[in-house]
Amino acid sequence: MLIAAVAIFVLVMVLLAAGWRAAAGSTAPTAMAAKGSERIWILGLGLAFPSTVLLALLSYGLWIGERLLPREGADVTRVEARASQLSWTFSYRDAPGRATENVLHIPAGRPVDVAITSADVIHSFWVPRLAGKLDAIPGHVNVLRLEADRPGTYAGLSAEFSGPGYDNLTFTVVAHPPEAWQGFLEDSR
């Protein structure tokens, strides 16, 4: 995407700069020539060129977006994230009654659905290295699919201005290997 964007930018700048050169050498334009250049500039560069680029980009985006959607599966774990202006509270379907503050435990190598909601104002759940962000809105539950390929610790952020305390509204995601995940679940019993 970056390469294409740079290429388009350079193209436009070159055309713009060439405007001076072209004008210096040109003679008075005839009506015919004006008609012809209107076709090149507006129909060609103005309509056809961006349409092609955008169609390709859009299909690509939708395809990726579709792949990122949460779908049902046997090995999907479900956790719940509840935001407030003070902290994030996480609870677990597989370990009823267990809740953690500002630390989300997930199994590594398995898809996890995070059901996101809010106790007060609007927040946004974001773990940059694992997935895009999704808002936490009071009265609504949004589901985000995460998957950590490797065990480890990942930084998570609130990404929607939520008033005082917004700077420090962060959390950590801990992805456990299978045994440790079982251990975490059993701990709560």
């Binding site: 995407m1 964007a5 388009i8 930018f9 436009v12 700048m13 055309l15 713009l16 060439a18 405007g19 001076w20 072209a22 004008a23 210096a24 040109s26 334009p29 004006a34 250049s37 209107e38 090149i40 500039w41 507006i42 560069l45 103005g46 309509l47 060129f49 961006p50 955008l54 980009l57 859009l58 690509y60 985006g61 939708l62 990726i64 977006g65 990122l68 996101i116 007060d120 104002v121 609007i122 946004s124 940059p128 895009g132 962000k133 999704l134 808002d135 809105i137 009071p138 009265g139 609504h140 949004n142 589901v143 990404a159 929607e160 201005f161 939520s162 008033g163 005082p164 917004y166 700077d167």
Partner: protein, 827 residues
């Protein structure tokens, strides 16, 4: 009468009063336009200082410069001021000043309304500045998302300043939009058909229509949020049938078109200036007009792209993602039309052209990152990071500030009649251009590295220190460049160094006036045969000054102009404008009294202020018209047209029609909100429905039908030379019947504080009652006017306006009745 005598006579007629009184009573578009521009640039300074404070705060990690509470006010007010108090008013000011000159006429459609709009902006902006000075400025982000901005999480007065102040300022935008629409369509030089209009006028027409459709949703949202905060009506409160997402929809339904409302006039300036800089005509005039219209329409299908992360179904996202990428096409058409224009002509690298090149460089980058953000998965990553901050500044600074600076330098000689003496502008441009890139280019990177928007500080371990410091330094370079522009403009006003006429050798009519432009614009109005009348006839200014055009001989102290046919530009009607008056500022102050009383919660004052506005409105309209039938007026060149008092569709009819468009969008947004809450919000359907009332169900439709029919009858009788009084009285009864019906409805409706259902019904009811009372006031006014002898079979124009308002009342009565009772009957 020779040219000099004509100049003196017309100047005496059209000028503002001498001394300080002139400022407060002028209704002349040149004065008000410059007042708008000066005030807007003052706010640019304030918003710029806030930006400097933000950059000072972020320059170093763990900054102790400002605490988070104050910092929240900084960024909220920076966004709010730049959007509402700088960008929109600059456009209004520029168009108010330029439109009549470019269209070859003497003023805008409603001079007093121009002044009223300015004073609303002045007082409304003043409220926000006061909040800033006292440290109680809005602090919930310029988008004001509830529930953060609700009473529970923001109990202070900060949020109320935003909701009330901005709504007050928006009155001026709506006034200006109505005025621009009617002026472009009806107030042009004879012969200027739609396809001979200067391209700038096309852009302003499109922008004005966008304001009429885009601002009402935000005005509605602000009113609903203020009702929630002040009276506990739970429109956005979850658990009581409200939903905070409703605000986001209403806000972005305005917020996205807003970006194009800002961009299009700037594009209009480029389309005007760039061909002149290349000594040629604009390539593909019709294509550019079509692109502007397409952009306007598409921009209303985009609002959801600010809400990609709110959990909207993927199919919905696909639609809005497609629409978001689609807007790149009309933008590309314009950009390539401009580059093609340069190829066609021989470009000169004058100062306005430098700023246009700055625009190209910056805006193309902003457009490309915009396309990236329109791709949903990418947006899920960068949304609410510094990447988006960088993107929007590339679009807004590139797409708005650079073109506006080009416009300032291009039209400055017209305003001051001077030419630039000290060559500060080139240095200023270099500083602005480099400063801008240094500030915002690195911000893309730091955003991709995960720096969120609106954080007040960060840690050294985040690794953002160097980039932020570079940005801050760039920001101060940029500010220095802008300060030099300000200095140069002031020097230009002071230093006596006269410019020659038409210094850029342009072809549009504003350069056919004297320089600096006189209060009356044209000593006589030109007849236009092409898009560039000044190129066809370089002697046009002299011939106009000699009075060879239309209306060359001033009659008494009448401010006269001509109204033309919308499509062809054939002269149609003769207009006498109202002269200088204090009425606009008094009316704006009274309107301000209403907003102020709501702000400080002195609710008993509010109805008094409304009554005051109604009385002033009656005085306002009473001053127009005459007690004698005017004959056809001779406008010169052997043409006779009727006066606007003696036609079926006077300018007031057009203004009302476009105001009703905005009103209908407002009402439509309310219906949308009702349907949205019903289908999306939790806790619906409500616990109990309103019980159908026989009285409401009969009195409302019967009253509305009587009002419509009787009013039409009154108009017909009057034209036939018979008495309209009986029809008007019957119509009055009908409107009062509707008011009574919905008064009863309000009494029986469920509590507005218990559930969003009751709250919405309450707003519906009040909306109908207000419109019924407004229609009744119009009818009473007409009865008085008839009694006083202002209405006759010939002077029938006064009767033209009430019927459309009463027709509108009929439609909303029907829709509200259905919306209120149907759900209860079905379930």
């Amino acid at each position: 009468m020779n040219a000099l005598a004509r100049h003196r006579r017309l100047t005496a007629i059209w000028s503002s009063r001498p001394g300080w009184k002139g400022w407060f009573s002028t209704v002349n578009h040149s004065d008000v336009g410059l007042m708008f521009l000066a005030t807007a640039f003052f706010y640019f300074l304030v918003g710029g200082i806030l930006a400097m404070l933000i950059r000072a705060q972020l320059a170093t990690p763990h900054s102790a410069f400002a605490g988070p509470e104050i910092y929240s006010q900084f960024f909220t007010m920076h966004g709010t001021i730049m959007m509402f108090l700088f960008a929109i008013p600059v456009i209004e000011g520029l168009a108010i000043y330029l439109l009549p000159k470019m269209l070859g006429t003497r003023d805008l459609a409603y001079p007093r309304l121009t002044a009223y709009g300015y004073w609303c902006y002045f007082f409304g902006g003043g409220m926000l500045i006061i909040s800033l000075l006292f440290g109680i400025a809005p602090d919930g982000g310029w988008f004001m998302y509830p529930p953060l901005t609700g009473k529970i999480h923001s109990p202070g007065i900060n949020t109320d300043f935003w909701l009330i102040g901005i709504t007050f300022v928006e009155i001026s935008a709506i006034c200006a939009a109505v005025e621009f629409t009617v002026s472009v369509l009806k107030y042009r030089a004879p012969g200027m058909s739609l396809d001979r209009m200067p391209i700038f006028a096309w852009y302003i027409l499109v922008t004005a229509l966008m304001i009429l459709c885009g601002f009402p949703p935000l005005i509605l949202g602000s009113i609903l949020l203020e009702l929630e905060r002040a009276f506990g009506m739970p429109f956005f409160q979850v658990g009581l049938g409200g939903d905070s997402l409703l605000w986001q929809h209403l806000f972005w339904l305005f917020g996205h078109p807003e970006v194009y409302i800002i961009f299009l006039p700037a594009a209009g300036a480029i389309s005007t200036i760039l061909p002149v800089m290349a000594s040629t005509t604009l390539l593909g005039y019709r294509w550019v007009v079509a692109a502007a219209v397409a952009l306007a329409i598409l921009s209303f299908g985009l609002w959801v792209h600010h809400m990609f992360t709110t959990g909207i179904p993927h199919m919905g996202l696909a639609f809005f993602s497609a629409a978001s990428t689609l807007v790149a096409i009309p933008t590309a058409v314009q950009v390539f039309a401009w580059i093609g224009t340069l190829w066609k002509g021989s470009p000169r690298l004058r100062l306005p052209m430098l700023h246009i090149l700055g625009f190209f460089f910056t805006f193309v980058i902003g457009g490309l990152t915009g396309v990236m953000v329109a791709v949903v998965p990418f947006d899920w990553q960068v949304h609410d990071t510094a990447f988006v901050t960088a993107h929007l500044h590339y679009v807004l600074f590139g797409g708005f500030v650079f073109p506006i600076l080009a416009a300032v330098y291009y039209w400055l000689p017209l305003v001051t009649g001077r030419k630039r003496y000290f060559r500060l502008g080139e240095v200023a441009f270099a500083l602005i251009f480099l400063g801008f890139q240094i500030t915002f280019l690195p911000m893309h990177w730091v955003g991709l590295m995960g720096q969120r928007r609106r954080i007040s500080t960060y840690g050294a371990e985040d690794g953002w220190t160097a980039i932020n410091l570079i940005s801050s330094v760039g920001g101060f370079v940029l500010a220095f460049g802008l300060a030099m522009v300000l200095l140069e403009v002031m020097l230009n006003v002071i230093v006596r160094h006269r410019s020659e006429r038409n210094p850029w050798l342009a072809g549009t009519l504003e350069w056919a006036t004297l320089m600096p432009a006189p209060a009356y614009n044209f000593a006589s109005l030109p007849h236009v045969d092409s898009r560039d009348p000044l190129w066809d006839d370089p002697d046009l200014p002299v011939r106009l000054a000699r009075g060879e055009g239309y209306l060359g001989d001033p009659v008494g102290d009448r401010r006269e102009t001509i109204v033309v046919d919308v499509a062809t530009g054939a002269p149609e009607q003769h207009v006498i404008y109202p002269a200088n008056t204090f009425l606009p500022i008094v009316m704006a102050a009274t309107t301000g009294g209403f907003f102020l009383s709501v702000l400080v919660k002195l609710y008993w004052v509010a109805p008094v202020a409304v009554l005051g506005v109604a009385v002033l409105a009656c005085i306002w309209v009473w001053r127009l018209g005459s007690r004698e039938d005017p004959g056809d007026q001779s406008i010169g060149r052997g043409i006779q047209v009727p006066n606007i008092t003696a036609v079926d569709r006077p300018p007031g009819w057009w203004g009302s029609a476009f105001l009703l468009v905005a009103n209908a969008i407002f009402f439509g947004s309310l219906l949308f909100g009702y349907a949205f809450l019903w289908t999306v919000a939790p806790d619906w359907p409500p616990p109990a429905f309103v019980a159908p009332s026989i009285f409401v169900l009969t009195a409302a439709p019967v009253g509305a039908v009587i009002a419509i029919v009787a009013c039409a009858l009154a108009v017909r009788n009057n034209r036939a030379g018979k008495q309209p009084v009986v029809g008007l009285l019957l119509a009055l009864g009908g409107t009062l019947g509707v008011a009574a019906a919905f008064g009863v409805f309000l009494i029986h409706a469920p509590s507005p504080t218990a559930h969003a259902y009751g709250a919405t019904l309450w707003v519906f009811g009040v909306y109908v009652v207000l419109h019924a009372l407004l229609a009744a006031l119009m009818l009473v006014f007409l009865l008085c006017r008839h009694r006083a002898g202002y209405i006759s079979a010939v002077r029938r124009a006064e009767l033209a306006i009430a019927p459309i308002w009463i027709g509108y009342l009929g439609v909303v009565t029907l829709l509200v009745t259905v919306a209120a009772y149907l759900p209860g009957l079905v379930t």
